[in-house]
């Protein structure tokens, strides 16, 4: 998929868009009505789009619906897409807007469901070098982070997921959300502060227990 790849270093550019030039060719073909070219764009970007919108939707079923709807709108809107932005930032913007539109329309639910236990187990089991106690601690930490992210206001959550979880660059994340980079950084800063406070609480609780 087209979301950026992970950076292996602790400090360094977080994201590099994996697909650029080929996307332009495929987009040009798709704009001329080539469905096979658009299908290839779907295969490249569906997983990345899903990974973003699943954090903004009520459940995985809705996230899949949003993903499908975003591609449908992209296909219909391709004639209006002139390549000013990268295809995947344009697509992600459609998806994020659709997720937020649905969120605005649904009744707000106050409860926060802690998510992704299967993913946490998967990540933990992937790292064979980590001792079982460490893995349990990491899983606990990730549950805390999941809950803290889920409790963020949707604007901050979208910024954080795009930038810090999915690894888009600041410019790309700002383009997806239709913000200036300074505004995106401000939202990110607030979101990170909330998460850091949550992690500090988590550390205190673990220290006390």
């Amino acid at each position: 998929m087209g979301a950026p790849s992970a950076s292996s270093s602790n400090r360094g550019p977080i994201a590099t868009p994996r697909v650029t030039q080929d996307d332009r060719v495929l987009v040009a073909l798709a704009r001329d009505g080539d469905r096979a070219a658009f299908d290839e764009l779907v295969r490249r970007h569906a997983d990345g789009l899903y990974a973003v919108v699943v954090r903004l939707c009520a459940d995985r079923h809705e996230a899949e619906e949003v993903t499908q709807e975003a591609f449908l709108r992209a296909w219909r809107g391709l004639p209006a897409f002139h390549g000013d932005a990268q295809f995947f930032t344009w697509l992600f913007r459609i998806g994020v807007n659709e997720a937020r539109r649905r969120a605005d329309g649904m009744r707000r639910r106050a409860d926060v469901v802690v998510v992704s236990l299967d993913e946490q187990r998967e990540h933990a089991s992937r790292d064979r070098s980590v001792q079982p106690v460490d893995r349990a601690e990491r899983a606990d930490l990730r549950r805390t982070l999941d809950a803290a992210i889920a409790a963020l206001p949707v604007d901050q959550r979208a910024a954080l997921v795009l930038r810090d979880v999915e690894g888009l660059s600041t410019a790309q994340a700002a383009a997806v959300l239709g913000l200036r980079e300074a505004a995106l950084k401000s939202r990110l800063h607030r979101a990170r502060e909330v998460l850091r406070a949550g992690l500090a609480d988590h550390a205190r609780r673990r220290g006390a227990s």
């Binding site: 591609f71 998510v115 800063h189 998460l195």
Partner: protein, 172 residues
């Protein structure tokens, strides 16, 4: 500045200054370590898409194309002409700003009437004629405001901050 330092997004001189500061400041070193750890933990949270998602999206597109073709066959010629984007945009602006334009027009209409006909109002009181003049001023101000809105397309007035959105996170 530490997040930008971590991402190597600072200009060289600032980067060097932060590095030098970090040598002497244990608090900032701890904050940087927290940031690095948080970044690592966040990247590990990346959600995995369900198997076969892309193929289901493609099937959805196929189904939509098929229904669109059917729709063209059954309703050809019945569809109303689509509104142009410019007209849609103009209508959206006018509709969104309607409460404000109405209120502002009312204030302007009353103010102009008071300025122009204050003497008449004081001597004769509120009459049908002054009400008519006030109404005409209101209508003129409302029309001018909307023309200005559509031509100038100013940045939207700041909205009230939204309520915190406490959406549920995805269920497993």
């Amino acid at each position: 500045m530490l997040p930008a330092y971590r991402e190597q997004a600072l200009p060289a001189d600032q980067d060097a200054r932060v590095r030098a500061h970090l040598r002497d400041c244990a608090d900032c070193r701890a904050s940087l370590a927290q940031l690095i750890e948080l970044a690592s933990d966040l990247r590990a949270l990346r959600s995995r898409a369900p198997d076969g998602l892309a193929e289901r999206v493609i099937a959805h597109l196929d189904a939509d194309s098929a229904s669109a073709r059917l729709s063209v066959v059954t309703t050809a010629g019945d569809e109303p002409a689509p509104r142009t984007p410019a007209a849609t945009r103009a209508w959206t602006i006018a509709r969104e700003q309607l409460p404000r334009t109405l209120a502002l027009s009312f204030v302007v209409g009353v103010a102009i009437t008071l300025l122009k006909d204050l003497g008449t109002l004081l001597s004769d009181g509120i009459t049908v004629q002054t009400c008519a003049v006030c109404g005409a001023n209101f209508v003129a101000a409302f029309a001018l405001l909307n023309v200005w809105l559509l031509l100038a397309r100013p940045r939207p007035w700041p909205r009230r901050p939204r309520r915190r959105n406490r959406l549920c996170a995805p269920r497993v």
